[in-house]
Symmetry: C3
Subunit: 290 residues, 3 copies
């Protein structure tokens, strides 16, 4: 895929473009198990690389479910995803005032694995309307973007389940970050709901932090409505922190996509937060799929 | 593409080989706009990467012309290109005595964008015999190889036009490098001419530096003549500097290509300059296209 | 290709996965010479890159034989290869107790080029039952993994020959590492034999170090026997060092592959050495070819 456009970082407009190629490899064993691997040229970056298992994924699937290794998501993110994104940069642009890692975009603030990892393991299984997922890392590597960078002794676990009835899906997830040292163990529980009303998609979640998680609770909602080739999208999220004297923060985004056909989408979006002195950011450009 | 051969750096012969794959992505919108992206595996290098827009390019084109973003050239280089290259390494080998960045090869010393940039923007348009181009960067990133490396506050602009009549093309270009700080603003104007006489291609240019450009003027000429499968090529360039006590420098290259067919070309070249104590460099090898 | 599994490093079990894509480029000249290039996405790593000739290879071949440039092997390794590998990680996992570079896996301890190089040159030629190979580097770049990292003045040479009669192959190779400085010149001679008895492959070698090579001699043997979809494999190697007070070291590996069909292989292996206090290492996983 590729994209090109202009970005306003609350001070200047700048150009921003990107080009990537995705490799999708797949095969089938004699007994009918499916296997494959997936990564992008943009995943090739020295130590963080598909050859080291912390970019891209490898999978094996069959009647037993699907096992995925590599740069996996948390079980909750795997089943619920993120809120509707706005603009042509998606969650690559965040609001100007929020410095807490992982907040400030349409991405839901999952506790674990919401970034590259050193070969985690995910198991997913679907039976009719039910889907379950479980993910873990092995104690080497990244556990959490939000709660800190590389940790040699981080172990992360997550489980999640989702139930779909007609146009509605509800889900529940739980994540644990288990680390050496005082005040480092954290947990988080997420409740998520998705619904489709005609041409409108709605997604909402509520998350409660546990143990030493600096997040007390978080809540968010997004709506995306299609009118012909145009899709109008918006999200709003709010996080309350545990620590006294740390203000809660609210941020939102509003945008529109216009489908040019053939894989090209014109997209514009604006995002802002309620941090004092923080101005809106915006971007406008074209996204291409080939 | 790929290449393999031996290189003489004026002291030793060494081996040198390379392999790359080019990705060329393209699509068409419902209204007939064409879009695409282009980059090579050799463009994938951590921070300088197609995913960051400072390697490879993304484009959108239609009746209005063509907009290209990413690692663009200056408007002048886009329309006039460089002089004929010699040897299997092209402008990857320069003469031994020239230390001024961007000089010493078949490359014309354009002022701006003659190297990677952090997402510049280029506009090109052709109508009959006329072609025009305009390029700019946004104040973040690289502006000029010749005039210095990364500059946070560099803004570069360039415009160029070319007119083709029969086998002749003439062109005029102007480049501006706008930076914070004393003595850093530079400009340059280029006049270029290309002609085809039977199997012989001739290209020449004259460039005049302005503002604080250390280059007073530059002149160059190249000739490439095909005799069956063999093409004999040569170029000569001379740059005069503004500063008193800095000698002007002249350099040249002479080479021959032999087309083996099927995408393989045997190429040899020698290059030298008139810097005191500087000896010739040379290379000989095979270039492959797949 | 790709792989996923779990690795025991003698203390912990960890996950390990990998995904790569191989690019294989080829062409033919009008006169029938074949040329091509080969590298993997995993070879793309900044300075060590196919674009710099120290990852991947480029070749040109014809009736005269085959010339290969880039990340070549030594002549001996080109003709004899390594012992049978065990587990899904191959020689990417070594035993826990051996710190001498290049030892501790199924890889035969060749003296030169047993790792990346800065554009070496290899010549190979086969006539009937005879095969010969010669390899050299040009004095810039890596000469030897076992004997030290990058050396600006390293020149490595190697020649090898192999003769095949029926199911038997015997070979002889000689390698030279020529460097500036006292005690740095080394050499090594290898005698290798390969045989196929029904479904069983046997490979053995004996190597004698010369000049300042720290290795006095080395010996190794591997056996791989196929029983239907299962292949049982094992190797053992022993190295004696020249230096007084440095113990000889013996290490071995034992493993089994189970072919799942379609390019998927289930593989498990255990490796150990006789170094005091060193425990076994192991890995188990799936290897995929696409």
């Amino acid at each position: 895929d590729a994209r090109m456009g202009a970005v306003y970082d609350s001070e200047d407009w700048n150009f921003s473009s990107r080009a990537r190629v995705q490799f999708t490899l797949s095969g089938t064993t004699d007994s009918g198990l499916e296997f494959g691997a997936k990564f992008r040229t943009s995943d090739i970056r020295n130590a963080e690389d598909p050859r080291n298992g912390n970019r891209g994924t490898v999978f094996l699937s069959g009647a037993f479910g699907k096992i995925t290794m590599g740069d996996i998501a948390s079980a909750s993110e795997e089943l619920f995803g993120d809120l509707a994104d706005v603009g042509y940069l998606g969650d690559d642009q965040g609001t100007a005032g929020i410095t807490f890692a992982g907040l400030g975009t349409n991405a839901i603030p999952y506790l674990t694995l919401d970034n590259e990892t050193t070969s985690g393991l995910m198991y997913t299984y679907s039976a009719g309307a039910f889907s379950v997922a479980a993910a873990m890392t092995d104690g080497h590597g990244y556990g959490s973007l939000a709660a800190g960078t590389f940790e040699a002794d981080t172990q992360s676990y997550s489980v999640a389940a989702a139930y779909t009835f007609g146009n509605y899906t509800v889900g529940l997830g739980h994540e644990i970050l288990d680390r050496d040292g005082a005040g480092l163990d954290m947990s988080q529980t997420e409740l998520a709901g998705m619904a489709k009303f005609g041409n409108t998609d709605v997604k909402g979640y509520y998350a409660i932090g546990g143990d030493e998680n600096p997040v007390d609770d978080a809540i968010g909602l997004s709506v995306a409505s299609a009118f012909g080739a145009t899709t109008v999208k918006g999200y709003v999220q709010k996080v309350d922190f545990v620590a006294a004297g740390v203000d809660s923060v609210t941020w939102y985004g509003l945008g529109a996509d216009y489908d040019l056909g053939g894989g090209a989408i014109l997209a514009a979006g604006i995002q802002d937060d309620d941090v004092d002195g923080s101005d809106p950011v915006a971007n406008m450009g074209v996204k291409f799929k080939f």
